[in-house]
Symmetry: C4
Subunit: 349 residues, 4 copies
């Protein structure tokens, strides 16, 4: 099965324009599910505002004839610093679901992080993109289940299917439940019936996962510098600065505000990724200038997927990547490594 | 007499949703009475904004299987750091009045501070909740009357009825009068006819109250660090950082801004409580991280009471307590004592 | 001639409520004349916002039984720190014009600064209030005319009529003209026909005025600390921090922001007054805590005058004075001198 | 050909009032072309806000009888520090196009920077204003073409036509394309068919231009202090702090924020000009007080041109110049050199 290409909406100027199209295509429940935020939406708004408050101070005349967005991540060359964030139940957004967004990512050289709550089998996703030369990283996100054997069973599937890293989400195990009536045929296909998330995982569980799998392990949901330091001490492969897009703890610090302190605490010992409110290529440039190695994109990709399937998701990624390339050129940065704090105002940190 | 349980409004997601229900249930005068603010509402808005401007920087993977909101206050174990703030004439909000909110508090393990201007006899309130094992503190709030004997008469009633502490309000004796036509059957049942508040109490009056009653005395309405230091010097049992919810001095500093300086001045010599704009569990977590030992909730409880009587008030308290528990778990704090300044951004102070 | 007392508008809670009444009573030209601001209104809005951004940190339990707003100004005891700012052509607002506002001021113990562009003869104003025991200062405002003899002629009239000080406005000689069609019978009664303002006065002109009149001279329109220092060196009797209510230079610093630096530069060598955006008693308390000795009130008094003549203007002054007294009591300040920087947040300066 | 004078719109109080008139006169495409901004308009809004956040602290009594806006720029006396910014295709705004705005500039003593993408021949522009005694600088703006010979051919035309300096734009070579259907008869008359901009110019290209032309060279589009220092080292004749009016990199720092750091880096070795959001004379005063030597005006001039041709553009320039003169007088600055950082709040830098 390969998604059929759909027509793109007219008059899209930037990735953010897709939100309105998605809203008009989705039923209210599906829209609310992806658009959700905790409490009064304080953190969600803060995420966005924090990127806007960082300004770029471009360099000129650096003779940047070619912009190169390639980078190293976990010892592998990647075409770009963009990844699709792990998001559950993408078939709520579009019948192609995760298959659509994974193909979109591969086509744009972006990475893809499959969610443990995927509504498409993870093997099917991997099979569709694994052999694509130009694709980015293919990672698998999981939360720890109460039952280590059940956790391991899923990890083994991910390993066998060719996923290259495990992204362990650590900020969402305790969360206010939100009622959701799944439409016929949409469900988390890998979650065992009756499976329960580990309500209170600890660093020892992380160590267990590191020892139980040969895959590198990244932690997603780190906001405190002390936790970043612990990640480094434990030899984790990376961490994602994230507040779950403002969906978990309303009042949590904006990721753009947390990022510099995390980068400092990590001290170059492991790559720092970030998500939360990133909606355009200039946000990516700012994130990298603040010290992030790569970024994860959530809602923008869902908006593209909902509006026009794989083609829409790919268009969103291309718009963001193109704007990143444009921003790099405008900042005189031929390579991602040239996106440094000296391009920022106010001065970093 | 026990309040009849009422149906809860549908589609409540958080405590703040009760405000609209209360507004539609109350007549304009009653709504205005509880919703009142001094002047242009500057301080009331500032209270709310100041909590929003404090962000939480959660810790992860601390293996928090159980969250414990128990704490010590005035040498007694309390189930939670929540108390219902003293509010006058609650029968304006609902026929059950203070009885409703006191039962709500007891049912949720929150403390209750009965107002000297209660519209239900304080003995009746105390009788209804005194023997509840799971209840929080039962305190009595008073302003000094011009006549010390009259003041003492009320204090003696509170002592006899089993109230465990006196909360002396010191920020509202001088206040612009607001016309209020009390409906039939609603009145301050303990204020002697013709009683006048002491227009200009001093620290010597506080000392007198300390000596006149065996109950511990807390001061409510402290905003200046120098006054907090004086409270400590006089051996007061506690103080409440409060600007009376923005009802007294428009332009007074927001309580979340005053709190850290008060905590510093108190230096651990007496517990610091706070109220003003606290409307959700994350606000409580922030207050405690800023150094408060407990918080008082005013308007949210009235909104619940007005909307659905004791059941509504209890629901409000449960929503706030649940969100506090959630926030604690999300911050990796198993106990209240783990809510510390290192969880805050911007860094404290 | 004495103004007839008019009925006050109903449902006034604070001085600011008079603005709407004034607007409905005045024709558009008159409203625009008094409500005018330079350019885009940046400074006018900044004035207001700057007072709002200063918070009060009240003291409690200071046993303030009586609040005393008396103060010394230019060696004379004054009932309050309020003065009516000099405003031209007040008969545009109400037939009683300056006579109405002067009587209002005298009745409330506020000072009155008659404008050189008064639409009522200055002798008539002075005669009506001069012998009022309870009145505040009676000052005369002037701009320097190109012709010193003409200037002196007006000064001599003010001296003879009993005015006690000269307020020399120094920020409005160069101003974009604004077309104004004066209604029949409304005109600046003391400005000689064909008189021109001195287009470029200097400090030597101030020295000349000091030597030419036995009255003390204050400067109005000072915003720069260096100019305040010069005022002190020249032995001026006082200065008014003012940006002309945002009517002259759009983009000028807000007076509440300029005030602390001016107070510091004045170093106690001369009294510092302030105007600009002061609309309620708490603003007055903030101004005094920031170091001002007294405040001038402009538009609020015009609003009262326009809405209900002398009675309206008096009501405005009483509301502001009452709120000042309330704020003092709430801050534990029995006297104006107790309004000090330690009552402010953020900390001063 | 000389433009016919058109009637000015009624009820214009300041230059900004022309925007509405322009909008009603232009078709949507033309309006959008000039009003365009990159991305979400973040930088465009930031430009404007940054000027508003700088306040002026005027001096008084400096006996400023005459205000003199003359200044030296590139060794030539100029009547004012205002220049019309280089803008392409001005015949989209009005049939007179660049001829109208150049004549407007000359009539007001403002400089004119002709765009390489002028829709009127540069010789015709120069011929119309070159011999005007009272005019300001006449400069020619260019981007480097891929073909140095083609670039040089245009430079030679500019030299021959009497242009006095070259303004090399360095921030817009890499830009997201925007579709534009040119109306009949409107086109960039000097751009060779098929000419391509140099996609990645470097400092060596600047050096080449310096050596290839006898005209002084200024750089436009500098935001980073390090680039300003490089300009100084290369002996450039000047630089323009600019983010292209927010049209190029959305998220670029506001020019008023970048300016002080650039001035510091330039260290007086070359004049610093600035544009971006300047819309009134007080903005010009602020820019000069922050250290700029002159300012460029873009959209305001186009709005005047669109609304009323040369007369409208001249009116805009006159309003801004008059407000500058007024602001200078109100600040006690008889000459531009007296607009210094000590007139600013917050204190500079």
């Amino acid at each position: 099965m390969q998604p059929a290409l759909e027509a793109l909406p007219l008059s899209i100027r930037c990735a953010r324009d897709y939100a309105a199209h998605a809203r008009s295509r989705l039923d209210a429940q599906a829209w609310d599910y992806f658009d959700d935020h905790a409490g009064s939406g304080l953190t969600r708004r803060a995420n966005r505002r924090a990127w806007d408050r960082v300004s770029l101070v471009p360099r000129v005349l650096r003779a940047v004839a070619h912009v190169d967005t390639r980078m190293q991540l976990l010892g592998r060359n990647q075409p770009s610093p963009l990844l699709v964030a792990p998001m559950a139940l993408q078939r709520l957004a579009h019948p192609d679901g995760e298959l659509g967004s994974a193909l979109a990512a591969a086509s744009q050289g972006a990475g893809f992080v499959a969610s443990m709550q995927s509504s498409v089998p993870l093997q099917q996703i991997a099979a569709a993109v694994r052999n694509d030369e130009g694709r980015g990283p293919l990672w698998f996100q999981l939360c720890l289940l109460q039952d280590r054997a059940a956790t391991l069973a899923i990890v083994r599937q991910a390993e066998a299917a060719g996923y290259e890293a495990l992204v362990l989400t650590v900020d969402a195990t305790i969360r206010a439940p939100r009622p959701l009536v799944l439409p016929q045929g949409v469900q988390p296909v890998h979650l065992p019936a009756g499976a329960a998330f580990h309500p209170a995982p600890g660093w020892d569980d992380v160590a267990w996962l590191q020892s139980a799998s040969s895959l590198p392990v990244l932690l997603k949901g780190v906001l405190h510098p002390a936790d970043a330091a612990q990640c480094a001490r434990m030899g984790l492969a990376g961490l994602v600065v994230s507040n779950h897009g403002g969906r978990v703890l309303d009042g949590a610090v904006a990721t753009a505000q947390a990022l510099p302190r995390i980068v400092e605490a990590a001290g170059g010992r492991l790559p720092v990724l970030v998500d939360g409110g990133i909606a355009q290529g200039t946000d990516v440039a700012k994130a990298l200038a603040l010290g992030a190695r790569a970024v994860l994109l959530g809602r923008p990709v869902i908006h593209g997927l909902a509006a026009a399937g794989a083609a829409g998701a790919a268009h969103v990624l291309r718009l963001i990547r193109d704007q990143l390339r444009l921003a790099m050129a405008q900042c005189g940065a031929a390579e991602l490594a040239e996106l440094t704090p000296e391009l920022l105002f106010p001065a970093f940190p």
